[in-house]
């Protein structure tokens, strides 16, 4: 049963980590838009010139 002493704290640490990751995601508005992401796989690759101009714009990412 000694293995529990290692595994259970580990599971709690993992859970706290998962919770922290989720809080980060919520704060960074990852869950605000539940509608459009399902379309992303259907889009064609953007044309190269549009892709470069969009890199600095990065509409999805807004880490302050």
């Amino acid at each position: 049963m000694n293995v529990l002493v290692v595994l259970i704290p580990l599971s709690i640490i993992l859970m706290v980590g998962a919770g922290a990751a989720f809080f980060w995601a919520v704060n960074h508005r990852q869950f605000d838009d539940m509608d459009t992401p399902r379309l992303l796989p259907l889009t064609e690759d953007p044309p190269p010139e549009a892709a470069t101009s969009r890199d600095d714009a990065a509409p999805q990412d807004d880490a302050p």
């Binding site: 529990l4 838009d33 509608d35 044309p47 549009a50 807004d62």
Partner: protein, 821 residues
């Protein structure tokens, strides 16, 4: 509006060949324009649509046409006028400067219909130089843009949206402090904490249950109990906060709200388990309390989503009131300012066709205004010097000079909007009733718990504590709390996917119970576009020549009859009219080829002539000169393609279908006969329609009213369920509970079937929750339910409720096919 929260089954992603490639409207062969989009020649209905499609293609976002599942809104023609938002004084009101130096603006985007629109907007704006972030909320039709104002000016941002075919209107900077977003973030976090906590607590509890069978030493048992305490603590202290806060609020107001028993139960189970753990007692219930909180929060979360989906009425204010005004300076010159900059005492100039920016008094001699917004009367009202004008009314004959008296939140319009907002903020009635039922139930359970404790302490004091705790745990108010939100949320999502936007969740209940459907005729059962049927020209005048003369007058007007004439004459040589003036409600007058002509109602057109044989022409338009009638133009209304099928389907469901129309009896009768409707009333003014609805409702009928015009708005407000069509007037949509965004009337019978299914499922859920509790609580009170069984029973009962709700709309493909056939 969130036109498609769920993928739709409707196959109009790509417009058919005879429809406009951009907006999907049926093409008028005479006015069709063509443009090359991505190398393929596509047809368009108007210059606005073709410009929008070319612009989208040029941005490299042509994939939009493949991704969308709803056709776009008809695009307005791009205007060349300089944008008023270039003025820093005006921009200051809508743009907020962030701490990092970037600017931030919230834009109301009209014409957003499905998630492909969101995709398009995010990319089109995101590709502009200096744009750091674009977030589009499809439900609220808002886009929030963070960008570097030195690299791209605000007008350029708005221009990108307008050129892609959307209406763009910056909202007040206050809108940026989005209370809804904060609420939704907090709810998501709480839900996650409760979910994770419940899962972990359950895991440790399973170990305890197994240990109870296999024999577990006291040290290991206590270890697992304290682990359960560890994970349940954040759930109770953080995730369950809304219940405690709500309970505290209602208690302070000296009332017993719904949160009080729930909060009491959570606190009791948690505290009792802690006591048991400390003294090494028989059972702990940390898993149950976590799950209890999780399920209750899940119900609240679903309900919040449904609430947030509904349109925000404060946005309606932004749409109805103009953003800009022409202020008259002291030297008499006009300057364009934002309506927010106006102060009482200012003088403004309102051009013909423009909306009055603020409440005030008319200073010029006379004008005619359309006050449909307030009165529902589409007939323009004559105003004289000194009469009051209200913000949002449209000057149809002007121009007008207005002395401003009240601005912004003090205007009549703002008052109406505030009232509506208050009505809409109310929680859905069904959900409120469901929660009341849950609260009543919890109160009874608390009483029962107290009773159990009392009786056991008389019989066997040692078992009093565990038995009463088992009663508290095994009873499941979660199933009650989840029953309504789960079913309603599912129904709203399925309906949205079929092009039926439910603005007020209460409408689902009312729709299911409806007994009568009342249709407005023009624009609802019939196609909104009129078509010229035939021309009776005077002897010696070719019909085409008469049409060309009429079209010369009609071309400048936006009246539907005039537009039908202009469309019919699109292939004829263009002739110019001089001094053309519109006489509101009567017709048009002007000089063509040196002859003074009048076009309009017979009494108006023939006013100058001796001729008086009018009866046969009562609903036709007459073209006349000084010598008498030149031609009579007859118009025909086509019923919508799916009107017949929709009416038949509604009748098959046992509903009484009725037409209330302002039109002449002969026309209404003809249409009613075509559609197989036996009950109709013609020549109905809005107040007549309202009286008819009230009479029906007094007779016990539950009435669904389907209409589209501004003049229908008050009538819609008087029905049990108000349904408006997506292209209809803004105000009609604001007063209606359901909007048919796809303009498919046949979505209505399908929606009613779904509403009935929803109510059926909802009742099943509630009956199940009652039956479960009746069966289990007495057993627990007798002390026969072990804690593991209590926990399983509680969560299985909640799960069953959710699974049952997911059955709603499952046979959707079958329904959709049936409805289209």
């Amino acid at each position: 509006m969130n036109a498609a929260a769920v993928a739709t089954a409707r196959p109009h992603a790509a417009a058919p060949a005879h429809a406009c490639w951009h907006c999907g409207e049926r093409l008028d062969p005479a006015a069709t324009r063509y443009a090359d989009i991505a190398g393929v020649r596509r047809p368009f209905c108007c210059p606005g649509c073709s410009a929008a499609a070319e612009w989208i293609d040029r941005l490299g976002l042509g994939a939009y046409y493949r991704l969308r599942d709803q056709p776009a809104a008809r695009a307005a023609e791009p205007s060349a006028a300089p944008s008023p938002w270039a003025r820093p004084e005006l921009a200051r009101h809508v743009v907020r400067t962030r701490e990092d130096g970037r600017s931030e603006v919230c834009v109301l985007v009209d014409g957003m219909r499905c998630s492909a629109c969101v995709w398009l907007i995010e990319r089109a704006v995101g590709a502009l130089p200096g744009v750091a972030a674009v977030q589009v909320n499809a439900a609220a039709r808002r886009a929030r843009i963070e960008w570097d104002a030195t690299r791209t000016p605000l007008p350029a941002l708005l221009d990108t949206l307008t050129r892609a075919g959307y209406g763009a209107r910056p909202l007040d900077a206050q809108a940026l402090d989005d209370a809804r977003r904060d609420e939704s973030h907090a709810a998501q976090k709480r839900l996650l904490v409760a979910g994770l906590g419940a899962m972990q607590a359950m895991m440790y509890a399973v170990a305890l249950y197994i240990g109870a069978f296999d024999g577990m030493d006291a040290v290991t048992r206590d270890f697992f109990r304290w682990l359960g305490f560890l994970v349940a603590t954040p759930v109770v202290l953080y995730a369950a906060q809304p219940f405690f806060a709500g309970a505290w609020r209602t208690l302070r107001a000296r009332r017993l709200g719904m949160d009080v028993p729930v909060a009491l139960a959570i606190a009791l189970i948690y505290a009792a388990s802690l006591v048991e753990a400390l003294r090494g007692g028989a059972e702990v219930y940390f898993d149950s309390v976590s799950m209890f909180v999780f399920f209750l929060l899940a119900g609240r979360y679903l309900e919040m989503r449904a609430r947030h989906r509904a349109g925000d009425v404060t946005d309606a204010l932004a749409r109805l009131a103009p953003a800009c005004a022409d202020r008259v300076r002291t030297d008499g010159a006009l300057e364009r300012v934002g309506a927010i900059e106006l102060v009482p005492g200012d003088r403004v100039h309102v051009a013909e066709g423009a909306a009055v920016p603020a409440d005030g008094v008319l200073e010029s001699d006379a004008c005619r205004v359309d006050e449909a917004l307030l009165t529902g009367e589409s007939e323009p009202v004559a105003k004289r010097r000194g009469d009051a004008l209200v913000a949002g009314s449209v000057v149809v004959e002007g121009p007008a000079r207005v002395a401003v008296e009240r601005v912004g939140a003090d205007t009549v319009l703002a008052g109406i909007v505030a009232l509506t907002a208050r009505a809409q903020a109310a929680r859905p009635r069904l959900a409120a009733a469901g929660e009341r039922a849950a609260a009543r139930f919890v109160a009874r359970v608390l009483a029962l718990t107290a009773l159990t404790a009392l009786l056991w302490s008389l019989v066997d004091p040692a078992r009093a504590f565990t038995a009463s705790l088992a009663v508290l745990v095994v009873s499941c108010p979660c199933a009650f709390a989840l029953a309504v939100p789960a079913a309603i949320t599912r129904a709203l999502a399925v309906l949205a996917g079929r092009g039926v936007l439910v603005v007020r969740p209460d409408a689902v209940e009312a729709l299911a119970a409806a007994t009568h459907v009342v249709f407005d005729k023009t624009g609802t059962l019939t196609d909104p576009a009129l078509a010229l049927d035939r021309i009776d020209a005077r002897a010696g005048l070719a019909p085409d020549a008469a049409l060309a003369l009429a079209a010369a007058l009609a071309r400048g007007s936006r009246h539907p009859v005039a537009q039908a004439i202009a469309a019919a004459a699109a292939t004829l040589p263009l002739r110019q009219a001089e001094d053309a003036v519109a006489r509101a409600g009567l017709g048009l007058e002007g000089v063509v080829d040196g002859r003074r002509l009048r076009l309009g109602r017979p009494d108006f057109a023939l006013a100058g002539a001796a001729e008086a044989a009018l009866d046969a022409r009562a609903d036709a338009v007459v073209l006349a000169d000084a010598s008498g009638a030149l031609a009579t133009l007859h118009f025909a209304e086509r019923p919508r393609a799916d009107a017949g099928a929709a009416v038949a389907a509604l009748r098959a469901q046992g509903l009484t279908v009725e037409i209330l129309s302002g039109d002449a009896p002969a026309k209404v009768e003809a249409l009613a006969a075509t559609l197989g409707i036996t009950r109709w009333h013609a020549r109905q003014r809005p107040q007549d329609k309202l009286a008819r609805l009230e009479a029906l409702r007094r007779g016990g009928a539950r009435v669904v009213m389907v209409g589209d015009g501004v003049n229908d708005a008050p009538v819609l407000a008087g029905a049990d369920v108000a349904v408006s069509l997506g292209h209809g007037a803004e105000l009609a949509q604001a007063t209606s509970a359901i909007v048919l965004s796809g303009e498919h009337l046949d979505a209505l019978p399908a929606a009613r079937r779904l509403a009935q299914q929803t109510l059926r499922v909802l009742r099943q859920n509630q009956r199940w929750a009652t039956a479960y509790n009746f069966a289990v609580v007495p057993v627990a009170a007798l002390g026969f339910v072990p804690p593991w069984l209590a926990a399983i029973g509680m969560s299985a009962s909640s799960l069953l409720v959710i699974l049952n709700a997911l059955r709603i709309g499952r046979r959707r493909d079958a329904h959709a096919r049936e409805a289209i056939a």
